[in-house]
Amino acid sequence: MSRVLPYPLLTAGLILMWLLLNAFTPGHLILGTLLAVPASLAMAQLHPAKPRLHNWRAIARLAGVVIHDIAVSNISVARIMFSGARLPRTSGFVAVTLDLQDPTALALLAWIINNAPGTAWVEYRAATGRLLVHVLDLKDDQDWAEIIKNRYEPLLMEIFE
Amino acid sequence: MSGTILLGAIAISQGMLVVAMFICAWRMLRGPRAQDRVLAMDALYVASMIFLVTFGIRTGSVLYFEAALVIALMGFVSTAALAKFLMRGEVIE
């Protein structure tokens, strides 16, 4: 099973993409499968790191938190642009020391931080775990390092480690 | 009635997207630095992709969807290559 289908989720995703791009017919299902299985075998030749997902409940919780945060920061950044970008507002770099080590978890954290308007992932040093994030609106009562540390990192650790 | 509402909304959003594309183009030409130009080009790609999707809604043609997908793909590849170039001075190492 695992020799024929080393990445079942990837194969299923490729077949689904083929069907979405063309049409949901049995013929396209066969053609898509014929293309997706060799593609996933080719992927296995590259030996990518195989992430192990542990906790599906934590994935659902993380998805909820991320969707909420992206929606909220969309609105707040849109308000900053709308009400005049020249109002007094401090933006700057925030440094966080991460305990997270797993590359896939770090990639997911980078995705979250960059997809939320108002925060941008600028630099990460793997040897020390130092992460540099640029924040558009540094509000005085919100500690961004604490948000990343307490909101995202424990959930990501639950999922990947 | 619903056709009028929708055509009006499409016209409004296309107008706003055209303004957005002009702003991005201005930032791309003005700079001041190379990274500003690359960032503006990325935003220009995204705005034109959304513009094509609104065209697709108006005409009901799937061709616009495929063009939007291709533009998104080209935008990613070119911006990534340019960012790499800014960092290292060469794209392929």
Partner: protein, 124 residues
């Protein structure tokens, strides 16, 4: 030509609202590109268009085609997945490139380069 007047009124109003909201977000992102002062601030501006703007316009498109053709049309999801996967990568590359360039030119306002040995000694 699409027969847009075949849409029921509720769908037309919903699609119109989604379209206008999505393109407003994209326009606000472009305005941010115009008005914000430093490059690192401007780095946040296009995210408005790529997370909120794209999502709203694509939902409008999906809704429109689904109601008009009386079947589920969701291929716009592919564009959304692609855009949300790729924009963080480009922004991260651009941010790093800008930081690297600013540091080599010795510009003000960027955090200094941290040599890894010194920091790891201080942590222990």
């Amino acid at each position: 030509m699409n027969d847009l007047s075949a849409l029921p009124l509720w769908a037309a109003i919903l699609i119109a609202l989604l379209l206008v909201a999505g393109s407003t977000l994209t326009l606000l992102g472009a305005v941010g590109l115009l008005r914000l002062r430093s490059f690192y601030e401007r780095l946040h501006a296009p995210t408005l268009g790529t997370s909120g703007g794209v999502l709203l316009v694509l939902i409008a498109s999906m809704l429109c085609f689904t109601v008009l053709q009386q079947r589920l049309v969701v291929h716009e999801v592919l564009i959304f997945i692609f855009i949300t996967l790729t924009t963080p990568v480009t922004l991260m590359l651009l941010g790093r490139a800008a930081l690297y360039r600013d540091r080599t030119e010795g510009n003000d306002g960027v955090p200094a380069f941290e040599p890894e040995e010194i920091v790891s000694e201080a942590d222990q």
